[in-house]
C-alpha cells in the first residue's frame, strides 16, 4: 500500500489542490442555490472571467498576482450583483427560467470573451517567484501548487468561519429558514441576497485567478468548471459549506487519480462516484436540513 501511495503521491497531492480549487468555486454555487434558491448556471463563466483576468494581468511578479486577485474579486462581485439583478424578476417563475436565463448569459459572455482573447487555451504561468519545484517527501512538486493549497485552505477556513460561525452567517441561515421573521426583525433581505450572491461569485472569480495556472482560460473551460462544481454540490449536499468541502476533495481525488490511473475510464469514474454517493446518501455527503 505504501508502495502504491508512493507511486501516486504526486497525483494524490494534485487531487488535494484540485479539490480545494473545486471547493473555492463550488461553495458559491452551493450557497446561492441552497440558501438563496437561485440556480446560477453562469457560475463557470465567473471562473472563466477570473482566469482571463489572471492571464491579462499576470506579468510574472507577485504584485501582479495580487493585483489580479483584487481585479478578479471585483469582476466577480460585479458579475454576481448583475446576476442577482437579472434573476430577481424570475424568482417567482421557477428554476427552469433561471436555468435558461443564466445559460443565455453563459453563451453571451463566452462569445465576448472568445472574441476578446481568441479561441485557444491560453497558458498562464505562475509568478516567477513561485515557479520551480520543491522536494516533498522525496518527490519533486511544483511550488505554486503548494502555495495554492495553502491559500485555498485559508479561503475555505474563512468561508467556513463566516457562514457557520459568525453572526453574519447566522443572519444568512436565518433568512433561509424564515424570511418574514428576519424581515420583521428589521433586516434588509435584499442585502443578504445580494451579499451572498456577490461573495459566491467573487469566490468563483478568485478561484479563476488562482486556478489559471492549473486549469487555464479557454473556450469550454466555463462548461467543465460548471459541471464539476455541480457534481461537487450534488455529491456534497446542497447549501452546506462542509458538504462542498467534502464533495470537492472527493471529486478532486477521483479526477486526478482517475486520469492518472485509468485515463480512458476517467469520465465513468466520475459518474460512478456520483452514483455510489447518491445511492448511499441521496441528499449528498452532508445533508443540510435547509432544502433539498
Amino acid at each position: 500500500m505504501s508502495g502504491w501511495l508512493d507511486g501516486n503521491f504526486v497525483s494524490v497531492v494534485d487531487g488535494v489542490a484540485f479539490g480545494l480549487l473545486l471547493f473555492t468555486i463550488a461553495v458559491g454555487l452551493s450557497l446561492v442555490f441552497g440558501m438563496m434558491d437561485v440556480l446560477n448556471l453562469a457560475h463557470g463563466t465567473l471562473y472563466l472571467a477570473g482566469a482571463y483576468v489572471a492571464y491579462a494581468l499576470s506579468d510574472g511578479t507577485l504584485p501582479g498576482l495580487l493585483l489580479a486577485l483584487l481585479a478578479g474579486a471585483l469582476v466577480g462581485t460585479m458579475g454576481g450583483t448583475a446576476l442577482t439583478f437579472l434573476t430577481q424578476p424570475l424568482a417567482r417563475r421557477g428554476h427552469l427560467d433561471q436555468a435558461v436565463l443564466t445559460l443565455g448569459i453563459t453563451f453571451i459572455v463566452a462569445d465576448l470573451l472568445a472574441a476578446a482573447f481568441g479561441g485557444e487555451v491560453l497558458p498562464t504561468d505562475p509568478p516567477t517567484a513561485l515557479r520551480g519545484t520543491v522536494d516533498l517527501l522525496g518527490h519533486a512538486y511544483p511550488v505554486y501548487r503548494l502555495v495554492f493549497i495553502a491559500v485555498a485552505a485559508g479561503l475555505a477556513l474563512v468561508v467556513y468561519l463566516v457562514f457557520e460561525r459568525s453572526s453574519l452567517g447566522a443572519l444568512v441561515r436565518a433568512t433561509v429558514a424564515d424570511r418574514d421573521m428576519v424581515r420583521a426583525l428589521g433586516f434588509d433581505i435584499r442585502k443578504v441576497l445580494y451579499g451572498v450572491f456577490a461573495s459566491g461569485a467573487a469566490l468563483a472569480a478568485v478561484g479563476g485567478v488562482l486556478g489559471a495556472p492549473i486549469l487555464g482560460p479557454g473556450p469550454g473551460v466555463d462548461e467543465t468548471v460548471l459541471v464539476l462544481s455541480l457534481v461537487v454540490v450534488v455529491v456534497g449536499g446542497l447549501g452546506s459549506v462542509r458538504g462542498a468541502l467534502a464533495g470537492a476533495l472527493l471529486i478532486g481525488q477521483v479526477q486526478t487519480l482517475g486520469v492518472a490511473l485509468l485515463p480512458e475510464y476517467a469520465p465513468f469514474l466520475l459518474f460512478g462516484t456520483m452514483l455510489a454517493v447518491l445511492v448511499v446518501r441521496p441528499n449528498g455527503l452532508v445533508s443540510s436540513a435547509v432544502r433539498t
Binding site: F33, L39, P89, L90, R93, G94, H95, L96, D97, A99, V100, L101, L103, G104, I105, T106, F107, I108, V109, A110, D111, L112, A114, A115, E223, T224, L226, V227, L230, V231, V233, V234, L238, P263, E264, Y265, A266, P267, F268, L270, F271, M274, L275, L278, V279, P282, T292
Partner: protein
C-alpha cells in the same frame, strides 16, 4: 381531480377544434413533403437537421414538459445513439432501420442506470444530475479513443440504405425524405402516447407527485420508464443525425446541444409537442442562418445567448402559450 382539469388537457394539446387541427397538420405535412422541390440543397440540408433536432426537443419535452423533469442531459442519449449508429454503419450494416433500432436500443440501455440515478431527484437536482450525465458522456466521447476516435470523430460513414433491398441514399434530398418519414412516424407515436393513461399519470407526477404516490402510483418507476423512452427517442434522433451528416464528433454529444434542446422546449412552450418542434426550428434557424450572415459572422453563440435571454423575459409560456385565449391560461400548480 379539480374541475379545471379538462381546460388543462386542452391547453397541453393545442388550441382549435379537431377539424382545424387536422387541417393544420395536413398543411404542415404537405409543406414538409414538397419543400425539397422548392428549396435549394443547403436549405434542404438545414430542414433535415431541424427535423432531427425537433425529435430531440420532443424527447426533452417528454421529460420536461410532460413529466416536469427539467433535463440538460438529453445530448447524452443523442450522442450515444449517434455514435452507436456511426459504429454500426461503418462496421455492421448500412441499413437505416437497423441502425435506428440499434441506436435507440443502446440509448435506452444507457438510460437505465443513468436514469435510475437521475429520477431519484426532482427539480434542480434532477437538472444538475442530467447535466453531469451529459457532460460525462461527452468526455467519454473524447477520451474513449479506441471506440470513438476521440476528438477526430467517426467518419467514412456509408450513405444510408433505409430498408433492406432499397438503394443507398447518396443525395441530400433523398436523405431528407428518409428523415421526414422517420420523423412523422415518431411524431405520431409521441402524440399518440400523449392521450394514454400512462401520459396522464406522468402529468399527475408533474402537477402533484405526493398525491399520485398517495393514490398508489409507483411514481419513480413511471419517471424511469419515460426517461428510458425519451432516451430511446433521443438515440433514434442521433442515428438520423448520422445519416444526414455522415460524421459524428464529441460536439454532437455536447452541452450546447442539450442546452439548445431545452431552450427549444422552453421557447416552444413546455408540454406542447408542436411547440417543441416550432421552438426547435426557431433555435436551429437562429444558429444556422443568423450565425452565417455577413454582419454577424461567427457570432452564433452571442445571438443564441440573446435569444435565450429575450425568450425567457418575453415568452413566459413559450410560443404555444402566445396563441392561447386568456381563459385557458392559468397558473401552474407545480
Amino acid at each position: 381531480m379539480s374541475p379545471s382539469r379538462p381546460a388543462r388537457a386542452v391547453r397541453s394539446v393545442r388550441p382549435g377544434g379537431p377539424a382545424t387541427r387536422r387541417l393544420y397538420a395536413t398543411a404542415v405535412v404537405a409543406g414538409l413533403a414538397l419543400a425539397p422541390f422548392v428549396l435549394g440543397p443547403y436549405a434542404v440540408g438545414t430542414l433535415s437537421r431541424i427535423l432531427v433536432f425537433a425529435l430531440l426537443a420532443m424527447s426533452v419535452n417528454l421529460l420536461t414538459g410532460l413529466t416536469g423533469l427539467p433535463t440538460l442531459g438529453q445530448s447524452a442519449y443523442f450522442g450515444v445513439g449517434a455514435y452507436t449508429a456511426a459504429i454500426a454503419a461503418t462496421r455492421l450494416t448500412d441499413i437505416g432501420i437497423f441502425q435506428l433500432l440499434i441506436a435507440a436500443g443502446v440509448s435506452a440501455l444507457v438510460a437505465v442506470p443513468t436514469g435510475w440515478l437521475a429520477v431519484r431527484a426532482r427539480g434542480v437536482v434532477f437538472l444538475m444530475l442530467t447535466l453531469a450525465i451529459g457532460e460525462i458522456v461527452h468526455s467519454a466521447a473524447v477520451n474513449w479513443k479506441s471506440l470513438t476516435n476521440g476528438t477526430d470523430g467517426v467518419s467514412g460513414i456509408p450513405p444510408v440504405v433505409p430498408l433492406p433491398g432499397m438503394p443507398a441514399l447518396e443525395l441530400d434530398g433523398l436523405v431528407y425524405f428518409y428523415v421526414l418519414a422517420v420523423f412523422l412516424l415518431l411524431f405520431a407515436a409521441v402524440i399518440r402516447l400523449g392521450s394514454t393513461p400512462f401520459a396522464l399519470a406522468l402529468r399527475g407526477i408533474r402537477d402533484n407527485e405526493p398525491r399520485m404516490k398517495a393514490i398508489g402510483y409507483p411514481t419513480r418507476r413511471y419517471a424511469l420508464t419515460v426517461y428510458c423512452g425519451a432516451g430511446a427517442l433521443a438515440g433514434a434522433a442521433g442515428a438520423l443525425w448520422v445519416s444526414v451528416q455522415r460524421f459524428v464528433s464529441p460536439g454532437d454529444a455536447g452541452f450546447e446541444i442539450a442546452a439548445l434542446a431545452l431552450l427549444a422546449v422552453v421557447i416552444g412552450g413546455s408540454g406542447s409537442m408542436w411547440g417543441a418542434c416550432a421552438g426547435a426550428a426557431l433555435v436551429w434557424l437562429t444558429r444556422d442562418y443568423l450565425g452565417n450572415l455577413e454582419a454577424v459572422a461567427g457570432r452564433g453563440p452571442l445571438l443564441l445567448g440573446l435569444l435565450f435571454v429575450i425568450a425567457v423575459y418575453t415568452l413566459p409560456r413559450g410560443l404555444a402559450g402566445v396563441r392561447l385565449p386568456p381563459q385557458l391560461t392559468r397558473k401552474r400548480t407545480a
